[in-house]
């Protein structure tokens, strides 16, 4: 990821490609209380990969929803090949040749690849479904795209890996032969080799004349793939750069309007790391084997590994969701096998899940109730609801200030907060019960650049106050920048350890060898 982008892909120019195939002019969209898009103008040339970058909330998704026909703009127009176009429904946009691949997978798990590809436009013969024809067409498309043959047309989507499912999404989008393809964070769930395969595919598609709008947070990727990069900020276009003239620093400055000088807080010094708090020795589950892991008070340990390396399963063990079949789990020297999430919490381990919406938040309850959840859960069910916090000597408003959660008051419903504030509130939930160990899974997923650094500082502060922190992240820069030590997993076991500040290459090598 640190090598210079390959020049061959970037200098290829499709014939007659300077007339824009897509033009969006003066698009404005208002929602109650916020202007999501303000006179945004954006164009794409045929055969180019045009990247769209910006913080969460900058307007990228809204702009793509307008293009994809899911939202109608308040003003402005869209032109395809110079002709005016307007879409009332995503289907209309699709018929006009615009394909959108969203970040959330839109596949039906219990249907086959072919059934998913043809969902809504099934082929029939004399009124009866023609499964053979659909399978044939799907297989042909998969072959034409040069995708791995283990993605067969009649395999159940459920049986495919996340990376394979992503590829099926692409097959589905391409099966209607679009002229413009919008890809929203396509590599979010992919590891390095899979992402490489995707980039090769994108190069191929470009050569076939497809125009691609590429939305991503991963700026090195963007610099490598795109011909032009457009930066959005607060609903307005900040500017469009040619990739050759751009670098990460410049793009970030355009995105946030300031230099991010110090990206990560400083690591722990020698004396700041205390005694061992958590010890896993020879731990095995039906999926994992030979897990050896230690956590000391005051340190942040990063957990690295590719998709399928077992990271997720290890986290499940720690938060009490997976049964341990062999080995020892010790906290402060005492054996503590976590047989349920509640036991893990009682044992002093707090877990912040990667999917906040499904596993972390109580969206319909107030911020205050969310923060007090664990405090109350650990006290008696029949104790007064306020006495639990009082007995621990905690003031929720103090803790809220400590984590810097920005809300007008604590009665606001949790679901209305931004990603960053939600994460902070969740940290507050754990700080209120003073756990010994905090496990973060994808700590800054879905959080803007501004707020990310806030979370990193929170983690470091928690470590400095004596907690042991385990951080699982697929964003290597974040992992390497924040950790005092990095544990790398591979093929369901621990492959090795590296000191903090190791190179990305070293981590990758351990993860893939």
């Amino acid at each position: 990821m640190t090598t210079r982008p390959d020049t061959a892909a970037r200098t290829t120019v499709a014939p007659g490609a300077f007339a824009p195939v897509l033009e969006m002019r003066g698009i404005t969209k208002r929602f109650p209380g916020v202007v999501a898009l303000d006179e945004v103008s954006f164009d794409c040339r045929q055969g180019e990969v045009h990247a769209l970058v910006g913080e969460n909330g900058a307007g990228k998704s809204t702009l793509m929803n307008v293009l994809g026909g899911a939202i109608r703009p308040d003003s402005g127009e869209i032109r395809l090949d110079g002709a005016h176009a307007s879409f009332r429904h995503p289907l209309a946009a699709r018929r006009a040749g615009i394909g959108v691949i969203h970040q959330e997978l839109s596949l039906i798990p219990d249907r086959t690849v072919a059934q998913n590809v043809f969902l809504g436009r099934e082929i029939t013969r004399h009124g009866v479904l023609d499964g053979a024809a659909m399978r044939r067409a799907t297989a042909q498309l998969i072959e034409r795209l040069g995708l791995p043959t283990d993605i067969a047309a009649d395999r159940l989507v459920r049986s495919l890996s996340v990376a394979q499912q992503q590829l099926v999404e692409i097959v589905k989008a391409l099966s209607v032969a679009p002229r413009i393809l919008v890809m929203d964070e396509p590599t979010a769930a992919l590891a390095e080799p899979e992402a490489e395969a995707l980039f090769r595919l994108i190069g191929q598609l470009r050569a076939q004349g497809l125009t691609i709008v590429y939305i991503s947070h991963r700026l090195t990727e963007v610099l490598r793939l795109a011909q032009r990069i457009t930066v959005l900020k607060d609903g307005r276009i900040v500017g469009t750069l040619a990739a050759a003239e751009a670098d990460v620093g410049r793009i970030v400055r355009m995105m946030v309007g300031r230099d991010i000088a110090q990206m990560f807080p400083p690591r722990a010094k020698e004396g700041e790391i205390g005694p061992m708090v958590l010890r896993l020795a020879g731990v095995a589950t039906p999926v994992l084997h030979g897990i050896d892991l230690t956590l000391r008070a005051g340190e942040i340990v990063g957990l690295a590994g590719l998709q399928g390396s077992g990271r997720h399963e290890l986290l499940r063990v720690l938060c009490g969701r997976s049964r341990v079949t062999a080995g020892e789990v010790e906290i402060n020297g005492h054996a503590r096998p976590f047989r349920s999430p509640r036991e893990a919490v009682l044992g002093g381990l707090g877990y912040l899940p990667d999917d906040r919406k499904q596993e972390g938040l109580l969206a319909g309850q107030s911020v205050r109730d969310n923060m007090l959840l664990t405090v109350r859960a650990l006290a008696s069910l029949f104790a007064g609801r306020e006495s639990a916090a009082r007995r621990r000597g905690i003031s929720i408003s103090d803790i809220a200030r400590q984590v810097d959660v920005r809300v007008p008051h604590l009665g606001v419903k949790m679901g209305q907060l931004s990603g960053g504030n939600q994460q902070k509130a969740l940290v507050a939930r754990w700080l209120a019960v003073a756990p010994q160990i905090l496990v973060f899974s994808e700590p800054t997923r879905g959080i803007d650049i501004n707020a990310k650094s806030g979370i990193h500082h929170l983690m470091r502060t928690a470590a400095r106050s004596g907690k042991a922190i385990l951080m699982d992240s697929s964003e290597l820069p974040e992992l390497i920048g924040n950790s005092d030590r990095i544990v790398v997993m591979r093929e369901h076991t621990v492959a090795g350890e590296l000191p903090g500040g190791a190179s990305e290459a070293a981590v990758m090598e351990l993860a893939t060898r």
Partner: protein
């Protein structure tokens, strides 16, 4: 950085107040309509009778509230009510002296049946619809089997005073039903559990997002089981009152579960869980009972009562769903 306000904001309080006021308004309109058909209604006698009649439903609705807030349903309460009445009659068989141990026993039975519901839902992971429907069928069958298919036994006055008796006059106040005392005790207990104790917050958490609650350390199984136990207990209490009120019969509890769910929904609880209050359950029960009284006065034939109830249930849920979507 100023200290963060720990109180609920002004707009949220106002919305809650408006919603409560609109509910009271509906209730007043219904009363007005009833008075129109029966001018006697406004006198203390008929009013007390109305409250006495509504008490079982109010108690059932409060029990059902605990389950609905966690996102489940308890369809077995009607059967538990019937079973309570039948078993009381069989156990007592007219012997007034037995009241002091039979009443606690049937209450305990109700709580136990509720606990079984709770365990089946939380431990065996059976969806509450199926679990409580199955229990309903089983409990009905058990009751019929024990009583041989028809209501046998006889409930002594010592027992029946709970449901239909009045307190002796205290100064100028007379004719206060004993049932109201029972209601007061239940309301105090339920309010404390729901709004003062941590339990209420745990219920809301489980209903809002059970997975998140579990990961945060909430004893989800225990909370769920307790909610069903309380629902079963409330059905036992309602059964004792109803037994006193109308005497033993096999079908005394039929349809009560639907009424309890309707009442909770009319009162504003959300069926997907995560919201609800005791006041809502009470308001909804009174509203539903007023509606039934009105329909009775208008002269709606009894067989159609089921049909009307079905329509009311759908309308209540639809209205609450509409209110939800309009809010966003």
């Amino acid at each position: 950085m100023s200290a963060l306000s720990d109180a609920a904001g002004q707009p949220a309080r106002l919305a809650m107040l408006l919603r409560a006021m609109s509910g009271v308004l509906v209730l007043l309109c219904l009363f007005a309509a009833i008075v129109f058909f029966d001018p006697n209604f406004l006198h203390p006698g008929p009013m007390m009778a109305f409250v006495k009649r509504s008490t079982p439903l109010m108690i059932l609705a409060m029990g059902q509230l605990f389950v609905i807030v966690t996102g489940g349903f308890d369809l077995s309460v009607g059967a538990i009510v019937s079973f309570t009445v039948l078993s009381s009659a069989l156990l007592l068989n007219g012997d007034a002296a037995g009241t002091w141990w039979v009443v606690p026993l049937v209450l305990a039975l109700g709580a136990m049946l509720g606990t079984i519901n709770g365990l089946v839902v939380s431990r065996l992971r059976v969806p509450s619809i199926i679990a409580t429907l199955g229990m309903m069928i089983s409990i009905n069958g058990a009751g019929l089997y024990w009583s041989g298919g028809s209501a046998r036994g006889y409930l002594p006055d010592a027992y029946r005073v709970l449901g239909r008796g009045n307190l002796p006059a205290i100064g100028p106040i007379s004719g206060v039903p004993v049932a109201m005392l029972v209601l007061l005790a239940v309301v105090l207990g339920a309010s404390w559990l729901m709004h003062r104790a941590s339990f209420g917050k745990m219920l809301l958490a489980v209903g809002d997002n059970a997975r998140a609650a579990e990961l945060a350390g909430v004893p989800v199984n225990r909370v769920r089981t307790l909610s069903f136990m309380l629902s079963g207990l409330s059905a036992g209490i309602a059964g004792v009152l109803l037994g006193g009120f109308s005497g033993p019969s096999t079908g005394v509890g039929a349809g009560l579960e639907m009424q309890a769910i309707s009442a909770t929904v009319i009162g504003g609880a959300q069926l997907v869980g995560g919201r609800g209050s005791v006041a809502m359950a009470l308001a909804g029960s009174l509203t539903l009972q007023a509606l039934f009284t009105l329909l009775n006065l208008i002269g709606l034939p009894k067989p159609l009562r089921d049909a009307v109830q079905g329509a009311i249930l759908i309308a209540a849920v639809a209205y609450s769903a509409l209110r939800e979507t309009r809010k966003h």
